[in-house]
């Protein structure tokens, strides 16, 4: 709700599928290669060439259909969407019009205040277009056709989202599912997932307002900014007594504004008709069922399970589940006998995320689930402190070594022995008279400093809980 208006959002998400080859020819489907090298007469639309459907594309789309609880149209067709643009070599895009491969599904997204169900109108398959390139060295535009014929699915939601927060949650969940069922690389910066946004506003209790479609939304955060901007723009118009025109607008993320592209009257007539070069798609019932069975546990279910089964907080669970590799590692560690899922999640979201964010994959290190589970168990059993754990972690990331022997060799076992800890405490308290005085005058955060100094003096081996108790006793005494 913004200024007493309800905001209605519908989304069209285009996701490039990560099949080995393109949708209608044998060219490699890969990003970032030299311009116009991943092309053949077919994806260049040369006269006389014909498309043949890559069946993997149908399988991938059906998987997504199952993940979004859709009805699968086992029998469907492909259609031509006709329009002229230099990046579209045939001057038509092969897509699906009235009978999409999947339809009438939904997606439950987890919001702070509970689960929100968002309807999915349809999922259809289509081919991507090329890309225009501009260079100062050249008067005019250049075309890179590498992306022509890259397979896409378009996921069209119902207008069920009520603001940018729900849209964001929806987009993130869609992205997560795409990654879990491994049908898209979901790399925003490579354009492998893009969206068009439909926004309208209305007063509660009144019918839906006129919607505007926004194109060129290239990131999820841009979607949030765009929706908020567009809702406010429409509200301002209505508040000033005006009416919203149905139109297509272009989001300019740098300027943070949307600008009109074309009005409803100028809407393009795509003259859809059935693609005569391709046969009706007929997927055997068994295959549809088989594809459903091969679906992995989906991210939302995983988040719920991590909460219930392992007692993780929702945001921790969500952060682990958000990255397939983290979640997989988490589960492997549990399988390897890790006794403290909570502690494990801290390590994954802390140290492991740190090196992953720097671009190092877990497989690129010496870290195994077995080692990680063992390390967490050492800590949770109180055999080593977290600080020592960090030292051990840094070693087992780089070297394939036995944890117990590292601890032995370096004498890192946690010290819980009272007399040893007392000696350290006495030493530190004597050396930090000012802090002791501070504490006694009521500056309680001096305690943390003193315990920290003790830990340091013990080279991290002291049991921090026991250490704290001793210091407290001595200060209080």
């Amino acid at each position: 709700m913004i200024k007493g208006y309800e905001v209605v959002v519908g989304l069209e998400v285009h996701a490039e599928l990560n099949t080995k080859t393109k949708i209608y020819c044998g060219c490699k489907n890969s990003f970032g290669l030299e311009v116009n090298t991943q092309v053949c007469p077919i994806c260049l639309g040369m006269p006389g060439t014909l498309p043949t459907l890559n069946e993997k594309v149908v399988e991938y789309a059906i998987k997504m259909g199952h993940a979004l609880n859709c009805t699968i149209n086992r029998i469907c067709k492909q259609d031509r969407k006709n329009y002229f643009y230099p990046d579209l070599p045939k001057s038509y895009q092969i897509s699906q019009a009235d009978i999409p491969l999947c339809q009438n599904g939904y997606l439950d997204v987890i919001m702070e205040d509970g689960i929100k169900r968002i309807g999915v109108e349809r999922i259809h398959i289509e081919e991507d277009a090329g890309k225009l390139l501009h260079s100062d060295k050249f008067d005019g535009s250049l075309v890179d056709f590498n992306r022509c014929g890259v397979p896409l699915i378009e996921i069209v939601s119902k207008p069920d989202m009520r603001g940018s927060d729900e849209a964001k949650a929806y987009l993130e969940t869609i992205r997560s599912i795409l990654k879990y069922i491994d049908i898209s690389d979901c790399k925003m910066q490579e354009g492998s997932i893009r969206c068009d946004v439909n926004v309208s506003v209305h007063k509660p209790g009144e019918p839906f307002g006129t919607r505007c479609e926004m194109k060129n939304v290239n990131s999820f955060s841009a979607a949030v900014r765009g929706i908020d901007y567009e809702a406010n723009r429409q509200i301002e118009i209505l508040e000033a007594g005006g009416t919203v025109d149905q139109e297509t607008r272009r989001w300019d993320d740098q300027k943070g504004i949307s600008v009109s592209m074309r009005s409803k009257e100028d809407a393009q007539d795509y003259r859809y008709f059935p693609e005569p070069d391709l046969l009706t798609i007929v997927v055997p019932e068994e295959k549809v069922l088989m594809l459903k069975e091969t679906l992995p546990e989906l991210p939302n279910a995983k988040i719920m399970r991590y909460e219930e089964q392992f007692g993780l907080g929702r945001s921790d669970a969500a952060m682990i589940v958000d990255v397939v590799e983290k979640s997989a590692f988490f589960e492997k560690c549990i399988d390897a006998g890790c006794k403290s899922p909570k502690l494990l999640s801290n390590w994954i979201l802390g140290e492991i995320s740190k090196f992953m964010n720097e671009g190092t994959a877990i497989e690129d290190t010496k870290l195994t689930p077995e080692k990680m589970a063992e390390l967490v168990n050492f800590i949770s059993d109180g055999k080593i402190s977290t600080a020592v754990g960090k030292t051990v972690f840094d070693i087992i990331v780089k070297e394939d070594r036995d944890i117990a022997s590292i601890i032995d060799e370096k004498g890192l076992a946690q010290v819980s022995d009272a007399s040893a800890l007392e000696a350290i405490a006495d030493e530190i308290l004597a050396a930090n008279e000012k802090s002791v005085a501070d504490y006694k005058s009521g500056k309680t955060n001096a305690l943390g400093y003193l315990v920290g100094q003790c830990m340091k003096a013990s080279k991290g081996k002291a049991n921090p809980g026991a250490m704290k108790e001793i210091i407290l006793r001595k200060l209080g005494g």
Binding site: P41, L44, G45, M46, P47, G48, T49, L50, P51, T52, L53, R80, N82, F84, P86, P89, K90, S91, Y92, V143, D269, R271, Y272, F273, P276, D277, L278, L279
Partner: protein
């Protein structure tokens, strides 16, 4: 008799027994072409050096005993909408005047592998749109029987070349009659195979759901031979049908005893010249005398076929020809002011009148608000026509009609009257709409000596029955009559 006058199946024996070489034969075709093509204008492009090189290779192939195909060493003409790697494929359009494909059509690959010699690229109506070969941007092909008459179209170059000996056999394409009608007008044999029998890969599309590549020859045997060579499933063409294609040539038989021939009244009435209808009925009587049964039938939706055909064909054409936009290859207009201007000028200048007319018609019938009234209705009619044929084939084995409502007309007679031109397809379009095989064989001559043609239609993939009837007819009627040129 000159070598160029022999049928392919005899030349094949002569080549095999080394009585002649492919080089000798090819030289004779080149010589004949030099003699008559100035008057007939069948070819858009010949490359004698390249052809002779191919002939030399064919001779080696035959000498090595590795030639499996009966067509090894035989010169074949190719319609200019069939892609030939490294050889301009213009579709007789200014738009593609300088377009050279980087790949071969599947049929060209098949012929090349068989050891055929490509004798050149043949003239046609621009983008196969027309029934007279007059819409070619480059030249008008003449009918070898009367140089003031059209050869028919759109495969007019193929029909004329085979008719006057500039090619032994030739490939054409047929979307609404473009093989059968010119075959009829030029007194040769032409077969449009069942949709899906021959790969369309590399055929520059006019109407994808109706286009089919097929064969021209001066006799049924030659057409059977060439059709055998190009038939077969192609993984590059999703609409090509994966099944067994037994040799039509090997199974050719003139025994037609008991075959039931349907005569649909709708194809013999209004719009058909009585002399043409009579000559077809005379040929049917001859077949009856050879043991066939003649059964009158009715195909009542025929009267809607032309409308349905032009809607579907133009709709698909408007989309298929959209790729010719000046961006990637082909013609691009000079001095353009921005992208839209470039598109408009390029397409206005690059396409001829008939092509633009059909693109506009097709764009209209697909437009929002008109789609249901035109395209959807036409598709419903298509279903009905298909059903009528399917029902008819429950009681007959074949259907015989005239191929063209009249003999060849004068050049210029119909070019300014599109509807009169479209009516030239009245007997042939239903066969494409229903996806059936259709053969045209010469069955008579006008007083002025211009050929009439008879169309024999069969069940899907039953080219054998169609060709057998054609063969029996040919034996009864007499073989190819050479034009005096």
């Amino acid at each position: 008799m000159n070598l160029y006058e022999y049928p392919a199946y005899e030349l094949s024996e002569m080549l095999k027994s080394k009585k002649i070489s492919s080089v000798e034969l090819t030289k004779d075709i080149i010589k004949r072409t030099e003699e008559v093509d100035g008057r007939v204008s069948a070819y858009l492009k010949t490359d004698p050096e390249m052809s002779l090189e191919a002939a030399k290779n064919a001779d080696q192939l035959i000498a090595s005993g590795k030639a499996e195909s009966k067509l090894a060493g035989i010169p074949v003409g190719v319609k200019d909408n069939i892609s030939t790697k490294g050889i301009a494929t213009t579709c007789a359009s200014k738009m593609l005047e300088n377009y050279v494909p980087v790949f071969n059509a599947t049929v060209v690959d098949k012929l090349t592998e068989a050891g055929c010699v490509i004798s050149g690229k043949l003239n046609m109506d621009e983008f196969a749109m027309g029934s007279s070969t007059e819409t070619s941007y480059f030249k008008k092909t003449k009918n070898p029987f009367d140089l003031s008459c059209v050869p028919g179209g759109s495969s007019g170059g193929s029909a004329a070349a085979v008719s006057c000996g500039e090619a032994v056999i030739a490939l054409g394409s047929d979307t609404g009659g473009s093989i059968r009608q010119p075959a009829s007008l030029c007194g040769v044999v032409g077969l449009k195979p069942t949709y899906g029998r021959v790969s369309r890969y590399g055929l520059v599309a006019f109407a994808s759901s109706l286009d089919q590549i097929g064969s021209f020859g001066r006799c049924v045997k030659d057409v059977a031979l060439l059709t055998d060579e190009i038939s077969g499933h192609d993984p590059m063409d999703a609409t090509s049908v994966n099944m067994n294609y037994p040799s039509l040539y090997d199974n050719l038989s003139s025994d037609i005893t008991g075959l039931r021939i349907g005569i649909p009244s709708e194809y013999f009435g209004e719009g058909i010249k009585p002399e043409v209808a009579d000559s077809v009925m005379n040929a049917v009587k001859a077949l009856e005398n050879k043991g066939a049964k003649v059964i009158p039938i009715s195909l009542p939706s025929t009267k809607y076929a032309l409308s349905a055909y032009y809607i579907i064909a133009c709709a698909e054409a408007s989309s298929n020809l959209a790729r010719f936009d000046g961006v990637k290859y082909g013609y691009r207009a000079k001095d353009c002011d921005g992208l839209t201007d470039m598109y408009e000028k390029t397409r206005s200048e690059g396409f001829g009148r008939e092509v633009k007319r059909r693109i506009m018609l097709g764009t209209f019938v697909l437009s929002s608000g008109y789609f249901d009234a035109y395209y959807k209705k036409a598709k419903l009619l298509q279903k009905r026509i298909q059903q009528e044929f399917a029902d008819a084939f429950k009681t007959v084995d074949s259907i015989i009609t005239p191929t063209s409502p009249s003999e060849a007309f004068k050049i210029g007679d119909k070019i300014s009257d599109p509807l009169a031109m479209y009516a030239a397809d009245i007997c042939t379009v239903t066969v494409n709409i229903a996806g059936l095989p259709g053969l045209s064989v010469p069955c008579g001559y006008s007083e002025a000596g211009l050929p009439y043609g008879m169309q024999i239609i069969g069940r899907k993939f039953d080219e054998q029955t169609v060709l057998n009837l054609g063969y029996a007819h040919e034996l009864a009627f007499g073989g190819f009559r050479r034009p005096k040129i």
